[in-house]
């Protein structure tokens, strides 16, 4: 495991912002952290980035304890952090800013310049390298902040709401960058409100609520356990025959007639099961014209879980 937290707790006055969070991240994971406002996502990321001190609990990076307030150069070099407010030095040029960050991270020439070029290309800011940061747009500043977080090739990248406030184009650009980082093998922990973005590249998901990590699993497991799959089957004429055929099957529930030639039902099975089902229907001499699957997405799962918990 690259990152492990043990009973990580943070109390702000009488409010328990984080309540005994046990989190585990494997090397190469892209872990999405979701939850409503005030669930504790930012607090967790700030503790992991050593910005805040936990009230109790431990953090281990590759088995070595990460402790707030201590001089840990080796461990800090393995961390990259993009906070939600991404503060920057307005008076510096893009190049000088990254050069300064590179030096802080012990990068030396000629590697430093080469690496700056690489990250500028990755975040698509090559043409802005001599621009003063104060003149950049919000999207560019966000990408520049990401550039500073990945400049030293950290093993763990912490991103706090990286796409909030960005327009669809900038979000898509950001998504593309994250995918490239994922392909390079970087472990990423990302919190976001935009669940469709996370769905696109996350390998694992954690759901936070009232300071607790109420769900933490690999994305495919989460879908298998919590996501319902709906099938829509259209036939030429014999809808009743299809209904009779399906009603006794254990993996089929909630059959309803969608139109005069289409049935809709919930199917509890994986891809192989779906193939087997279609084959059986065809073998039963039912003339199928359409076979369509819809899966509940992350947002639906999240909303359903939230509803379950708050009710």
């Amino acid at each position: 495991m690259l990152l492990i937290t043990r009973s990580l707790t943070k109390q702000f006055d009488r409010k328990l912002a984080l309540d005994r969070v046990n989190l585990e991240l494997r090397q190469g994971d892209v872990y999405g952290l979701i939850g409503p406002n005030g669930a504790g996502k930012t607090t967790l990321l700030r503790l992991l980035a050593l910005v805040d001190e936990p009230t109790t609990g431990d953090i281990f990076l590759d088995g070595v304890p990460l402790r707030y307030g201590e001089h840990l150069p080796e461990l800090k070099r393995r961390l990259g952090f993009l906070p939600d407010d991404f503060p920057l030095y307005e008076d510096l040029t893009v190049w000088f800013y990254l050069d300064y960050i590179g030096r802080l991270q012990y990068l030396t020439e000629p590697d430093r310049s080469q690496r700056i070029q690489e990250v500028l290309a990755l975040v698509e800011l090559e043409s802005k390298q001599q621009s003063v940061i104060g003149t950049l747009s919000r999207g560019m500043r966000q990408r520049l902040s990401l550039a500073q977080a990945i400049l030293h090739k950290p093993s763990l990248l912490l991103l706090d709401e990286p796409v909030s406030g960005l327009d669809p184009l900038a979000r898509s650009q950001f998504r593309r960058i994250i995918k490239q980082l994922q392909a390079s093998g970087m472990t990423i922990l990302i919190s976001s409100h935009i669940l469709s973005d996370l769905e696109d590249f996350c390998t694992a998901i954690g759901i936070m609520e009232q300071g607790r990590l109420v769900e933490s699993s690999v994305l495919s497991d989460l879908y298998n356990r919590l996501s319902s799959q709906h099938l829509l089957i259209s036939v030429v004429d014999d809808l009743e025959k299809l209904q009779r055929f399906l009603v006794d099957r254990p993996e089929v529930t909630g059959i309803e007639i969608a139109s005069d030639r289409t049935l809709k039902f919930t199917f509890a099975g994986n891809e192989t099961d779906r193939v087997a089902l279609l084959r059986t229907i065809v073998n039963a001499d039912i003339a199928v014209t359409e076979f369509y699957t819809t899966q509940e997405n992350l947002e639906s799962i999240f909303l359903k879980m939230d509803y379950q918990r708050t009710s």
Binding site: D19, Y89, Y100
Partner: protein, 549 residues
């Protein structure tokens, strides 16, 4: 941008320094500084040239033969006067802009949130702070570099000028280290968060500037003129009375021997820089903790106490033995100063509410964890709690304040045994009252910092100010009506100025002093008990439970 190799190397070693240089040493600001210093030098020299006698000025202070049409110019006096003015001007011109720049720089970084980037970087706090210290005041350093040739040139026209100049810049350098380190620390005190006990200081840059300009620099330069520069009295004062009277430290004359004088002043400046540097580093690494750690407070108080007691022990002019009179006067001053010195210490050591809660939570969690593993509560619980109260950063500050007081008491009682003519009972009574007052103030501050209101710092400072100022103000009002009011004197025993009554008013019955002391200690027990109950309440209110999540 391509840097020269040497600059690149400096930047690799200390990126912060390169960043500050790059931000500040722009061509425009470089030329403006250069221009201002040269212009200042021209104006300074012109004003001196204008003071020489000329066709339209027959009288001049620099005429050897007074008011005379054929004035014989006192060139030695002219150069000396110029040198004296420069010696006084230099610290103000260089230190004040540096102090202001450092405080505002840290304030700005905190406001923007960029300071966290520096904290998260793998560079050591030492590396980053050194970069700030050397880089932020780059323009004042440049000004010093430009101003130095004139200073050196003028020094070459006065006897012993070069020897003085070497001594001057040694003291100047270390004074700069103390002041600039202190400025960075003041910058960190304006953190703006609720956790900083002195975060209420919003105009800390101006406050730091005023403190340095009005009090610190003049005091330091006056001190230097009677100690380390006592051998060149003409270079700082116009008194022409020869060297200042003897200054002793533990009866050792420290201004009679140039080597000893320099050793004493320079080593004290170095110790101050070291202590401030340690405090600063901690403040940078952990901005949400108390301003100084308990360990640091023991070192700081120990150092100040030894320094002060040393000055209290002056030798008698005639016998050369320890002076009884000096002891009496300076001890009274010392006790009052100590009472006042403890006020900022109380604010710096008392733990804010969030930290107190963290401490309680952490202790509770550890105990629960132990019980979960072993089925019983930890037996070393109390022992650990005592160690935590003495050394722990998050535990209540009142124990550390009591320990610091103990240090002062030991240091004061020890030399008391040397005094023969002194009323020992009054001295001990004074010590008791001093200790009691500090503890009362400490308990009030700690209590206020635990309040739930977000303005708890204002409450703490307000309550402390009230506790300190109300008794003398009330006493003052009473004295207006009755010059010899016993109640007014009694009230004064509840203020930091209690020693003025104890030492000077022989008419005051010692019984009254004892009654005041008893009341104070009853207050301490009452407040201490209330504080303990408050901690218990907070502990019970915490959301932590031993149930599984």
């Amino acid at each position: 941008m391509i840097y020269p190799a040497w600059l690149n190397q400096i930047g690799d070693r200390n990126p912060q320094l390169l960043r500050e240089w790059r931000g500040r040493l722009q061509i425009r600001s470089f030329l403006v500084t250069l221009g201002l210093v040269v212009l200042g030098e021209i104006l300074f020299a012109t004003s001196y040239i204008n003071r020489l006698p000329g066709p339209d000025r027959s009288y001049s202070a620099f005429c050897l033969n007074g008011y005379s049409p054929n004035c014989l110019i006192d060139w030695d006096g002219w150069w000396l006067s110029m040198f004296r003015d420069l010696n006084w001007l230099m610290p103000f011109v260089i230190f004040l802009p540096g102090i202001y720049g450092l405080i505002t720089d840290i304030n700005q970084e905190q406001q923007k949130g960029t300071l966290n980037f520096l904290r998260l970087s793998p560079r050591s706090s030492q590396n980053i702070l050194l970069g700030k210290l050397l880089g932020v005041p780059s323009l004042p350093y440049l000004a010093l570099l430009v101003a130095f040739p004139l200073h050196a040139y003028v020094s070459s026209h006065v006897p012993n000028g070069l020897a003085f100049l070497i001594s001057y810049y040694a003291v100047f350098g270390l004074t700069g280290a103390v002041l600039f380190t202190a400025a960075l620390f003041i910058g960190f005190t304006g953190r703006g968060g609720q956790n900083s006990p002195v975060a209420w200081v919003s105009g800390n840059a101006l406050a730091g500037l005023a403190l340095a300009g009005i009090f610190v620099i003049p005091s330091l330069w006056t001190w230097n003129s009677v100690t380390v520069w006592n051998f060149f009295p003409q270079f700082l004062t116009t008194w022409n009375d020869g060297p200042a009277s003897r200054v002793d430290w533990f009866t050792i004359p420290i201004n009679r021997n140039p080597f000893l004088a320099h050793l004493f002043t320079l080593s004290n400046l170095a110790i101050m820089t070291f202590l401030l540097w340690r405090i600063l580093q901690r403040s940078f690494r952990n901005p949400k903790t108390t301003l100084i750690s308990k360990r640091q407070s023991y070192g700081l108080v120990g150092y100040i106490t030894v320094l002060m007691v040393g000055f209290a022990m002056q030798s008698d002019y005639v016998t050369g033995k320890l002076s009884q009179d000096y002891w009496l006067g300076i001890t009274s001053l010392l006790i009052s100063v100590m009472t006042f010195a403890f006020l900022p210490l109380l604010l710096s050591l008392s733990t804010p509410r969030q930290m107190a809660l963290d401490w309680l939570q952490s202790r509770k969690a550890t105990a629960f964890q132990y019980r979960e593993q072993t089925g019983r509560w930890p037996s070393s619980w109390r022992k650990a709690a005592v160690a935590d109260l003495i050394w722990g950063d998050k535990s209540p500050g009142i124990t550390a304040i009591a320990i610091n007081l103990l240090l002062v008491i030991i240091a004061l009682i020890l030399p008391l045994s040397f005094v023969e003519t002194f009323d020992r009972f009054r001295a001990i009574l004074g010590l008791g009252i001093g200790v009691a007052l500090v503890l009362i103030y400490g308990l009030i501050v700690q209590w206020m910092l635990l309040l739930q209101t977000p303005k708890r710092i204002i409450w703490a400072v307000g309550s402390l100010s009230f506790a300190v100022l109300f008794p003398p103000l009330a006493a003052f009002i009473m004295v207006i009506g009755d010059n010899d009011s016993i109640l007014a004197k009694f009230l004064m025993l509840f203020s930091p100025g209690f020693w003025t009554i104890l030492a000077s008013d022989r008419g005051l019955s010692t019984n009254l002093g004892v009654i005041a002391l008893i009341i104070q200690w009853i207050l301490i027990f009452g407040l201490g008990n209330a504080l303990w109950l408050r901690y218990r309440q907070l502990s019970q209110a915490l959301q932590y439970s031993d149930s599984a999540p």
